[in-house]
Symmetry: C2
Subunit: 308 residues, 2 copies
Amino acid sequence: MVKVLVIGAGAIGAFYGSLLAKAGAEVSVVCRSDYDQVKQHGFIIDSRSLGRWNFIPAQVLKNAADFEGSADTILLCTKVIPAVDRVALIQPAVAENTAIVFIQNGVEIEQEMLDAFPNNEVVSGLAFICCNRIGPGEILHLAYGRLALGNLPNGISNKTAQLCELFSHSGIDCNTNENIITGRWQKCIWNAPFNPLSVLSGGLPTLDILQNQEPFVRNIMQDVFNIAAASGHPLPDNIININIEHTYAMPPYKTSMLLDYENGQPMETEAILGNAVRAAQRLGISVPYLESVYALMKLRELKLIVKK
Amino acid sequence: MVKVLVIGAGAIGAFYGSLLAKAGAEVSVVCRSDYDQVKQHGFIIDSRSLGRWNFIPAQVLKNAADFEGSADTILLCTKVIPAVDRVALIQPAVAENTAIVFIQNGVEIEQEMLDAFPNNEVVSGLAFICCNRIGPGEILHLAYGRLALGNLPNGISNKTAQLCELFSHSGIDCNTNENIITGRWQKCIWNAPFNPLSVLSGGLPTLDILQNQEPFVRNIMQDVFNIAAASGHPLPDNIININIEHTYAMPPYKTSMLLDYENGQPMETEAILGNAVRAAQRLGISVPYLESVYALMKLRELKLIVKK
């Protein structure tokens, strides 16, 4: 039986972990905020597409160091924010044969992992999902759910293929992606405009943003498109049009950054925008629209700190 | 005795009107919000540099159409916002020999006046002042106060020179400026970054903005600098450095746009940013940083409308 340790069992971690458990894996979790509740009662997963069930982890832990046994796979699902040291967080549970899978937002978040664990399999994962924690240990899966997994620097290992099968078995669309870094830039095309604009506008849903400032949204997307191309991960020519059309078709949607903002939680400004802007600087590309929203998000964050 | 009608007697209008009255002019006012108070008791002007006095206008009116007599000079001091029709507002009081002086923010706000009143003298005015309405009919003059006046399209008329003398006589530094349109672009160098950034950051004072995002501020200033040059109003080469240094030296300051925002008042987004962006489009200049803050301010305003 494959042993999985989920680190950062918030909405995303608990949901995907529960699917692996459903498919027969032995799944343990490290969760800090809802520890007491989850230790006693496990998670309630309420999915609009897959039903409602109780997920009882094999071990419920406060720290990775408390994990008993050896994990075949670590599923790292925290937010990517400066306050969280991803390497230190998983280090104590990484054994010789542990594969490290991170399902996280952002671009250029790979190297840190590859540097820290040169002898482990490292897998990059992207979740396309709308899933929220609605109470202690209670996760509401609203829509979507697709997962893309790919080994770093590229390719697909047996372990990754097996993991993908387990997810699929539980009813989630999981694809392997041989160029997962390209996939990350592709996701950034959508995240880079809509996440910060939803916050900076004061809370507008995606449709209002698009209907009123489509040229601005496209300009930010074009900046990301150009960075991806220059960094050796060119995206399809029609990717911007596809994202625009897709967003017009979506129900009005609150972005993850807006939810974090409204809940007083730290935002993934650096992972999504800062890393992209730094990549542009390294590559000598001008990305004025992206730079502008990044600068404004940093001011917004500064104001939040000043307020506290 | 020179007859002056102030239209839009908020903080700026009441303050400058009171100075002309002090210097011996017969000053009437159109003021809507504080009409009852001002009709009964006039204005209280409390100036940190010039003392405290009571300004009793010759006529206190709700509309320009109620003005009795003929104005030598109309002093238009409303905010420049789409909801206010500047021409319609002053039209009823404009006589054959009336000079129209507007002390208002923004760029490219001249043509509308020149088109509507081709046979009148039109004077553009810029106020460098920190002055707030702190209660009904009560104006607090905190700092600065310099005024620049110049005829359109350029030059200085006798009437303008005379007006300038009256202001100077009352203790305010008033200069004539033969290229007042250039002066307007020069003021925009400061307004274009600090006004929107103070709002979009959620309320940061100018010093915090500058200390944390100086390169972004400079990029917006450079966009304005480029428009001014392309529109035939080149600014001094060192103007950006001067503005940056000056702002570091200023006490932390809440911009007028931030004050409007916090008070639920409409903001001069179109006069300051929209007109500048449209000028750039007309001239075929790329101004991505300015465009970005303009787009974000439009989203912020949209959110305010949605909220109501």
